[in-house]
């Protein structure tokens, strides 16, 4: 059974008098454990697709089944629940709370899941350990480097043990060396059996994935699976 099943998904926006067809008719199936990159030039609909996959937005037409649940018909609050349970987001701009420590930033999704304080802290610590930030637990984002910040964000995405890790241009704000380091974490997450979805416009980033879905003008232009790229020598 597929983890993600999109069937004839269309998303249209009203822009004044004009109707924008961001996605025309997209059908995708993604199995559990896949490492997928979604690529396309700007205006291709990849951001719209990411928002739909992340349950941040609902399709105008078509069905979206995530982990056996039809999310295309859900209301705001149900979607919030699904996002909390099923999806770990990693954003280009990190999106950490500036006033909160790394630990508290990682705890955040667990708060919304209603996890009691002690367990929350325990799990957040574990997640930070997984990204190698054990010694930065009490640091605030402005005391961390860009790469460290993104690692905190990855810990935050992991902490709920979601079905999907959804990364939107995760290296876009990092220099290429740090970017490679970050990609290394995604490779490891995928290797550990997580389902990882990358949205990117950079071929070198997409090269990390086993499957690349290319969008153009709101439709799938190519969907190619390939053998895993061997880990680059350090």
């Amino acid at each position: 059974m597929s983890l993600i099943r999109l069937q004839n998904i269309a998303r249209r926006y009203q822009m004044g008098a004009e109707i924008i067809h961001a996605l025309r008719s997209v059908s995708i199936e993604i199995r559990r454990g896949e490492y997928v990159a979604i690529m396309g030039p700007s205006g291709s609909g990849k951001s719209t697709l990411m928002n739909l996959l992340g349950c941040l937005d609902s399709p105008t037409e078509g069905d979206y089944e995530l982990n056996g649940e039809n999310v295309s018909e859900m209301d705001d609050n149900q979607l919030a629940d699904i996002r909390n349970r099923e999806i770990g987001f990693v954003f280009q701009t990190f999106n950490l709370l500036a006033r909160a420590t790394a630990l508290r930033n990682v705890e955040l999704p667990l708060i919304y899941a209603g996890v009691p304080a002690e367990e929350r802290r325990e799990r957040a610590r574990e997640a930070l350990q997984q990204v190698g930030l054990t010694d930065r637990v009490q640091h605030r984002p402005n005391e961390l480097s860009g790469g460290q910040r993104q690692r905190v964000a990855i810990a935050r995405a992991l902490v709920t043990r979601p079905s999907i890790i959804l990364a939107d241009e995760p290296t876009g704000n990092l220099d290429s060396r740090t970017g490679e380091e970050i990609m290394h974490f995604f490779d490891r997450l995928s290797g550990a059996g997580n389902t990882v979805l990358l949205v990117t416009h950079e071929e070198s980033i997409a090269d990390h994935a086993q499957r690349i879905i290319r969008l153009r003008d709101g439709e799938i232009a190519a969907d190619e699976s390939r053998a895993r790229v061997p880990e680059a020598p350090a």
Binding site: N84, F91, L97, R99, I111, G114
Partner: protein, 409 residues
């Protein structure tokens, strides 16, 4: 996610946000502080006023009726014109009433004037001189602190004795005990037989202790030959107040020889009438106070609303992130409501800190006290102001679309 956890988290975020914007938060609370200080001071003042009213009214006694030529409250010029032609109440009528009334324990004629009083080289100006009988000690409800009241014999025989109020006693006899001494009221000598208990003032207008009580016959012969009397009547049992009033009315008509069908040419007053009047006055003051207070709180509330809109706009991305991580509409709504409420409660606490010394200062001039219910009210008002003015901004935040909010830079 349960509500308690949500409230706790909301409070934590709110305090972080307030701490991050200290100056702004303090400036914002200024409106609330002014509003709550007004609420508190106004409440204190109204409280004190009511208490003073009630104390004064209580001095009249629940079981005491006051008969006089006119009522206590004359509503209009026309009414006054019709009242002023009523015949005065004479001493003979008072004595006649005493004979007739059965449901009462005491009937005292009251007549008063102002005189200066002298003891040797000490003089007190404008002392109230009251002419009455020994019954007044029963109707007035004030006891004798030292010495005694004058007796029925002294009253009937018109002996020149007097009972002085406590202010008169301290003014004329700062060092020596007053009893047995002779004072001069006007030019007439009177022997002091007693000093009354301290009574305080009536409605803050005049002191009830700056007075001297003398036998009514002395009063008539020295100060006023044909006065218009008032009558104080003590009813035997409070439960019979209405019956006693009816009986007194019949008796008054009889002693004043009114024909059947003629209207009463006197009025019977009681505590209740004054209490009602004062209630109207204090309600009016409270209404005006509430309006002013409401206005200042309204302005403060608009300040809070404004700053909360700013806060929501500034934190659009944060709202988007929280929503992406699973915050529901309700969670965001509660978060911002708590922030607004926290700012207002902070303002309320600061306001109380300011109002407290102000109340103490105010207490020098009038009965004022910062009571616990008032403190509770002030905090409740701040909380409500926060919730009401924070609602619209919080609602806007709660309804934000996560995609747009996240994209916001």
């Amino acid at each position: 996610m349960n509500l308690l956890l949500e409230l706790g988290e909301g409070l934590r975020i709110a305090l972080e946000a307030i701490r991050a914007n200290k100056l702004r938060s303090i400036l914002t609370t200024l409106g609330i502080i002014i509003g709550v200080v007004t609420v508190t001071l106004m409440g204190t003042a109204i409280d004190g006023l009511n208490r003073a009213f009630m104390e004064s009214v209580a001095k009249l006694g629940v079981d005491t009726l006051y008969i006089s030529r006119t009522g206590w409250f004359v509503e209009s010029y026309e009414q006054w014109m019709s009242l002023r032609n009523r015949r005065p109440i004479t001493l003979r009528q008072v004595l006649g009433l005493e004979e007739e009334a059965t449901l009462v324990t005491a009937v005292a004629p009251i007549v008063e004037t102002m005189q200066s009083v002298k003891y040797r080289d000490r003089e007190a100006q404008s002392v109230r001189i009251i002419g009455t009988t020994e019954q007044a000690v029963l109707t007035g409800g004030t006891g004798v602190a030292r010495g005694r009241y004058f007796t029925a014999e002294e009253s009937d025989g018109g002996r020149p004795v007097c009972v002085i109020g406590s202010d008169v006693a301290t003014n004329l006899f700062p060092h020596t005990p007053p009893m047995g001494n002779q004072i001069k009221i006007g030019f007439q000598p009177f022997e002091i037989v007693g000093v009354m208990e301290k009574q305080g003032s009536f409605l803050g207008a005049f002191s009830l202790d700056n007075q001297i009580t003398i036998p009514v016959r002395q009063f008539i012969s020295h100060f006023w030959h044909d006065p218009d009397f008032q009558i104080q009547v003590k009813v035997a049992n409070v439960a019979w107040l209405d019956e006693a009033k009816e009986e007194l009315r019949g008796a008054m008509r009889k002693v004043r020889r009114l024909e059947p069908g003629e209207p009463d040419d006197f009025d019977i007053n009681q505590q209740e009438q004054l209490a009602e009047r004062l209630a109207v006055v204090s309600r009016t003051i409270a209404a005006v106070g509430l309006f002013i207070t409401g206005l200042s709180l309204f302005v403060g509330g608009i300040g809070i609303m404004n700053i909360m809109f700013v806060s929501v706009t500034e934190r659009t991305q944060e709202i988007g992130l929280r929503k992406a991580l699973g915050a529901k509409r309700r969670t965001i709504l509660i978060q911002f409501l708590i922030e607004a409420a926290a700012i207002c409660i902070l303002g309320g606490l600061l306001a109380l800190a300011i109002a407290w010394p102000l109340t103490l200062a105010l207490a020098q001039f009038m009965p004022a006290r910062l009571s616990l219910p008032l403190v509770g009210l002030a905090l409740l008002v701040s909380l409500l102001t926060g919730l009401i003015s924070g609602f619209l901004p919080a609602w806007r935040a709660a309804r934000m679309n996560p995609v747009d909010a996240l994209r916001n830079e």
